[in-house]
């Protein structure tokens, strides 16, 4: 039985409860976890489709061999660094260091843009499109979905940077930072899985 | 048969194996419905102890007890029945997937919008032939079917003989049929495939082995049109040859059914019309009226041409 059941009205003292988005109490923080769960499912189904078609494909898979690592591997490291920067910024604001938060967010933002730029270059360098064959249909759709999530994440980091600069966050009220950082780390984690699936696994045969 | 597509009777080895299970689960289901609805009615209408005088008949029950026993017993019995059904299902499945002995004949069936192509294999290449919509098999032995997807997904179903298997583009499914005795068994497409899904039937005709062989030899032979249907043949080549094949003539189209021995079939248009001169004429003149949306175009032709083509077709026995 709950200790909270207050039986008599003369027990007037209620605990002092925090108000609003202190720490990770915000409803939005709970909400974004479920967004992550549903989006993670999306990528799982994309990988399922890729594997399903790969197993039944009458021919070599990937048809042109595994994709090159030259641009993709450094790009992966850049995305990881971006997450690190954002994580450092989030850690800083928990201690009230606003300037460091803004710096971490800006670095994360810029590295995110670099990631997208390099990936677009990598796409162009292939000379193929998603209509070229079944493999490229999956490759471009999957990495494209991921890139869309990165773009959304970049916009989020941009908004957080501006809000941080405007002094919206302090050591106690910073849940948008936690929420945005969580989303960004999720996007990074998804990339590591996709990178492994598309670039590493074909090389393991 | 008043309901040719029913599956509560069976005429083939495979359907024979399934039927007891079908009847079994049907009977279990009916019994469950009777028992549970009976319990429900009893629960609703049973007499309850008389209330103390002055008690509010709609009053809340004071400390109600019991009820969980219902749940445990009901769920317990249900679980036993369900597990038993699962075990029986696995056994039937194991029995049904492969024929009792090796099939000697293999027929490749391709589903098209909205007709059935059947290609009979043979070790002798010259004896391989294609027909459509009426599939003859020798009675009393298993026949292997390779199911090929032609355009969209269709499903190959002859309820009197077996359950259904889909024809799926990009893969080949295998099934087998065995008719116990000679007869005509209706089949129908059972996967929604577009406008004329409703009119995509076919017939499996089981013959005594000797009669089947006779039929097969006739189907292998190409057509030999005589001179008096030369005009009809010529009209046919012009109007119909782009889509239809008649072996032994230049007409070699692959879009529609092979018509080399069309008059040997009991129906036309995938089981939609009986194969009589009147219906045949009507079909050729107005395919869009009979099966709106099907791929046989409405062709404007003179009555003379129409008759000539029909006369030619009537020689293709």
């Amino acid at each position: 039985m709950s200790d909270v059941a207050l039986h008599r009205s003369d027990e007037i003292r209620a605990p002092a409860l925090p108000v609003g988005s202190i720490g990770n109490q915000a409803s939005g923080y709970f909400g974004v976890w479920w967004v992550i769960i549903t989006e993670a499912s999306l990528f799982i189904y994309l990988i399922f489709g890729y594997a399903y078609c790969a197993m039944q494909f009458p021919g070599k898979w990937p048809p042109s061999g595994p994709p090159e690592l030259t641009l993709a591997l450094p790009d992966t490291l850049i995305l990881i660094l971006s997450s690190v920067a954002v994580a450092l910024g989030e850690h800083a604001i928990k201690q009230g260091k606003r300037a460091r938060l803004t710096l971490g967010l800006v670095v994360g933002f810029v590295l995110g843009i670099v990631f997208v730029a390099i990936q677009l270059k990598e796409w162009a360098s292939r000379g193929t499109t998603l209509a070229s064959n079944l493999y490229y249909s999956f490759y471009f759709t999957t990495t494209g979905f991921h890139m869309a999530h990165v773009v959304v994440g970049i916009l989020i980091l941009g908004a957080l940077t501006i809000w941080s600069a405007l002094g919206k966050f302090d050591s106690v009220r910073n849940s948008p930072v936690s929420i945005g950082a969580l989303y960004w780390h999720f996007v990074d984690a998804v990339w590591i899985v996709l990178f492994t699936t598309y670039y590493i696994v074909p090389r393991l045969k | 048969m008043s309901a040719p597509l029913n599956y509560l009777t069976s005429h083939g080895a495979r359907a024979d194996m399934i039927l007891p299970l079908t009847r079994g689960v049907l009977i279990i289901s009916i019994i469950v419905i009777l028992i549970v609805c009976g319990l429900l009615a009893a629960a609703i209408f049973r007499r309850r102890p008389v209330e103390a005088p002055g008690a509010d008949p709609r009053g809340l029950l004071f400390r109600p007890r019991g009820g969980l026993t219902f749940v445990y017993v009901g769920v317990g019995i249900s679980t036993l029945v369900l597990v038993a059904t699962t075990i029986r299902t696995m056994k039937t499945l194991a029995d049904v997937v492969s024929p009792p002995r090796e099939a000697k004949l293999t027929i490749e069936v391709t589903g098209h919008q909205w007709w059935w192509e059947a290609r009979y294999f043979s070790e002798k290449p010259a004896e391989i032939f294609t027909t459509a919509n009426e599939i003859h098999i020798p009675a009393g032995e298993p026949v292997r079917f390779k199911l090929i997807g032609g355009d969209v997904i269709h499903s190959f179903w002859v309820p009197a003989l077996a359950g259904k298997t889909d024809t799926i583009p990009g893969q080949t499914n295998i099934t087998w049929l065995q008719a116990e005795r000679p007869g005509v068994y209706r089949g129908q497409c059972t996967e929604y495939c577009g406008k004329q899904h409703a009119n995509m039937a076919f017939f499996v005709v089981a013959d005594e082995p000797a009669r089947f062989e006779e039929w097969r030899q006739k189907q292998i032979a190409p057509a030999a049109p005589s001179a008096d249907v030369a005009q009809g043949l010529s009209a046919f080549q012009t109007r119909c040859g782009a889509c239809h094949t008649v072996r032994g003539t230049p007409a070699g189209g692959k879009v529609g059914p092979d018509l080399t021995h069309v008059m040997s079939r009991g129906t036309i248009a995938a089981g939609t019309l009986p194969n009589t001169p009147g219906h045949l004429t009507g079909w050729i003149a107005n395919p869009q009226g009979v099966k709106p949306g099907n791929h046989m175009p409405q062709i404007d032709m003179s009555g003379a041409d129409l008759n000539a083509i029909r006369t030619f077709l009537q020689t293709l026995g």
Binding site: A5, L6, I12, A14, A16, L17, G20, Q25, W34, T38, S41, F48, C53, G59, L130, S137, T141, A159, P176 | A3, P4, L5, N6, Y7, V25, L26, I28, S29, V32, V36, L39, L40, I44, L60, L61, R65, G67, F70, V71, T79, L82, T85, T86, T89, T92, L93, L147, G149, D151, I153, S155, G163, T165, P169, G170, C189, T190, Y192, A198, P292
Partner: protein, 658 residues
């Protein structure tokens, strides 16, 4: 820390009083005029909108069905062309399964959850508002296809290759593909709101073993939706790409796999059919006890069976694909699981019967519907059990036997409970009773009509009648059964219309109902009918499952407190509690009415219209509007340096977060 105390609020426990009620009323009521209409975040208004909109789609879907039944009443009729028939049967399925069945339950959950949970709203009210607008706009989007004569025509299940551009060149399937992705966003955000609400905003003391079964039902469905909606959205998106941008996902000639569509679709659609019945079963589990004058038998078993049904339901999807040429191992596994899934359903059925048996039934109209659905559940359940056995399914599948099964489960376990719920909760929502005599007539017309229409389908199915055929010949033995079915369908329709008649009449002249007309035990019966905008004047503390029955049941030492509690009157405030034990954890600052959800929905609509016409400027414009709406929505408020009293200035006191 010193800064903390400025960010907390110490609130006395107060007794409910009229002055507090008046103050809360002003703070919580929806703004008048266009701002309130477009911007309301009140769960009650959103709930009503969902229910009304879903019933409009029910009626449209019903008319579509009646036209189909006219065409099928006799063999070889020409009331409809094949293409017309195909569009109608497709839209009938889409309307019922997507635009009625889930939204109506979302509507009931929206309206009832905060009342059942002792809260003033759901956890994310603007997300809630957004989900409604997205639903409305996506429904209109799909129906716009009719205006072009190009409604979806490949069935609700939309198999490829028939859905590919090559066989279906018009925009029909593009409307459906994009419309479904669009609708999926609505369902996703609404599900997220329900899950966070269930986790966070229950009354103090409402531990997880005290929450109503409706909450368990919707919670289970919401978690499931979040996991499986991406599968179908992805399938439709891949199809959209195939049809418009030349990808090869479902192109067999390029190695594409038609069965990939079926897997992705059914991985979603099977859990979906449980999602559209479990909340309704929850309403029966919560409503039946009131009319049996005792709590539900086996609460814990029923709650667990709700979750078990869904969990097992994730593992049965290929039973829709038994005829596709699967491996024997896969056939065996999925067949076994599909048969065993009947066990948790049996728990619910026997719990309900036990509740009636050991209770004292009160024969209200609602009771008729709740009891009647049990019979329909059993019939639908056993026909499902039959199709679970693979060799039998190879005969039954794609025949009218399955049509019978699906209508018994969907109408029996969704529609009948929903109508019962309307009879039960109408007094709470409107303060008036529905006419009880009309209600009983309503039940019998629907019950008899339904069985007359759908029971013969078992027979026409066993006689081999395939699904999705626009006509049939006269010599296959189906004619008589089809005629009976068509007659029954019209009788059933009259029964449904009687419900609307009853609602119309009762809204005008219904008998007055007080706060607790049925003597129910849960929290919604403790507040006035209709409820005030703030729901509870003071937030209740709960000590059991039936706070209003505690004194009389007297089976536990604790007592809930309803007339004294936290006021939380500094602006719009709600209590956030811990997940399992519901101990108070935080005071949540809730949003005021806002244009952002509506604007975001408009922006999303423009994106999808742009995608339909392959217009990059259109998509970009929609994206920009959506982005701006989202930015303004999420804009953080001022850091509150001063006292919490500064928050008491509607509408300027913006919440800290969503």
């Amino acid at each position: 820390m010193a800064r903390h105390t400025q960010l907390t609020q110490t609130t006395a426990i107060v007794t409910a009083n009229a002055e507090l009620a008046e103050r809360l009323h002003k703070v919580w009521e929806t703004e008048p005029g266009i701002k309130g209409f477009l911007g309301t975040v009140d769960h009650k208004e959103i709930g009503i909108r969902y229910i009304v909109t879903s019933f409009i789609f029910l009626l449209i879907g019903g008319v579509e069905a009646l036209i189909l039944r006219v065409q099928l009443a006799q063999p070889d009729l020409h009331v409809l062309s094949p293409e017309q028939y195909n569009q109608l049967f497709t839209m009938h399925g889409v309307s019922m399964i997507f635009l009625y069945a889930m939204p109506v339950l979302t509507g009931f959950s929206n309206y009832l959850w905060p009342l059942l949970l002792g809260a003033r709203d759901t956890a994310l009210p603007r997300v809630n508002a957004l989900s409604y607008w997205l639903y409305l706009f996506s429904g209109l989007f799909i129906y716009a296809s009719f205006s072009m004569g190009h409604a979806p025509n490949d069935g609700w299940f939309n198999y490829v290759p028939y859905a590919n551009r090559q066989y279906n060149p018009g925009p029909n399937i593009d409307f459906y593909s994009l419309g479904m992705i669009f609708l999926g966003i609505s369902t996703t955000v609404s599900s997220a709101n329900f899950v966070v609400t269930a986790m966070r905003t229950r009354a103090a003391g409402m531990s997880i073993n005290r929450i109503p079964i409706l909450v368990w039902g919707t919670l289970t469905s919401s978690v499931a939706n979040l996991l499986v909606i991406p599968a179908v959205s992805l399938a439709f998106f891949l199809l959209y790409l195939d049809r418009n941008y030349g990808t090869k996902f479902f192109q067999p000639q390029s190695g594409g796999q038609p069965l990939l569509w079926q897997h992705l679709f059914w991985i979603f659609a099977h859990p979906w059919v449980y999602a559209i019945v479990l909340p309704a079963m929850g309403m029966v589990s919560d409503g039946l006890p009131i009319f049996c004058r005792r709590p539900l038998v086996g609460y814990t078993l029923v709650a667990l069976s709700t979750m078990a049904t869904m969990a097992i339901g994730f593992g049965v999807w290929t039973h829709h694909m038994f005829a596709t040429g699967m491996s024997d191992l896969a056939l065996s596994f999925f067949s076994g699981v599909s048969i065993i899934i009947a066990v948790p359903s049996a728990v619910a059925v026997f719990a309900w019967i036990a509740t009636i048996w050991t209770g004292r039934p009160v024969f209200t109209a609602a009771f008729h519907f709740f009891a009647g659905m049990i019979a329909l559940f059993v019939i639908g359940g056993v026909s499902g059990f039959m199709t679970g056995s693979v060799p039998v399914d190879w005969q039954l599948t794609d025949t009218y036997f399955v049509v019978a099964h699906l209508h018994y489960v969907l109408i029996g376990i969704n529609v009948f409970p929903v109508v019962g719920a309307i009879y039960m909760w109408f007094p709470k929502v409107t303060g008036k009773f529905l006419d009880e005599r009309l209600g009983k007539l309503n039940f019998w017309l629907m019950f008899v009509g339904f069985n007359l229409a759908f029971f013969p389908m078992h027979i026409s199915g066993l006689l081999g009648m395939p699904r999705r055929i626009y006509t049939y010949p006269h010599d296959v033995g189906w004619s008589a059964w089809n005629l009976i079915t068509s007659i029954g369908a019209f009788l059933f329709a009259i029964g449904v219309l009687l419900l609307f008649h009853n609602i119309a009449v009762s809204l005008r002249r219904g008998k007055h109902a007080g706060a607790n007309p049925w003597d129910g035990g849960t929290l919604e019966w403790a507040i006035p009918s209709p409820p005030p905008p703030y729901n509870f004047v003071v937030l209740p503390t709960v000590a059991g499952r039936h706070p209003l029955w505690e004194d009389r049941l007297d089976d536990a030492p604790g007592r809930s407190r309803l007339d004294t509690g936290l006021a939380l009157d500094k602006g719009r405030q709600m209590l956030g509690t811990s997940v399992v034990d519901a101990e108070p954890a935080v005071i949540l600052q809730m949003p005021f009415d806002s244009y952002a959800p509506f604007t975001l929905a408009v922006g999303t609509t423009i994106i999808f219209v742009g995608m339909l016409y392959r217009s990059w400027p259109g998509m970009a414009a929609g994206a920009i509007i959506t982005g701006i709406a989202l930015l303004l929505w999420l804009w953080p408020g001022r850091l509150r340096e001063g006292s919490p009293e500064a928050a008491n200035e509607p509408p300027f006191a913006e919440p800290d977060h969503v």
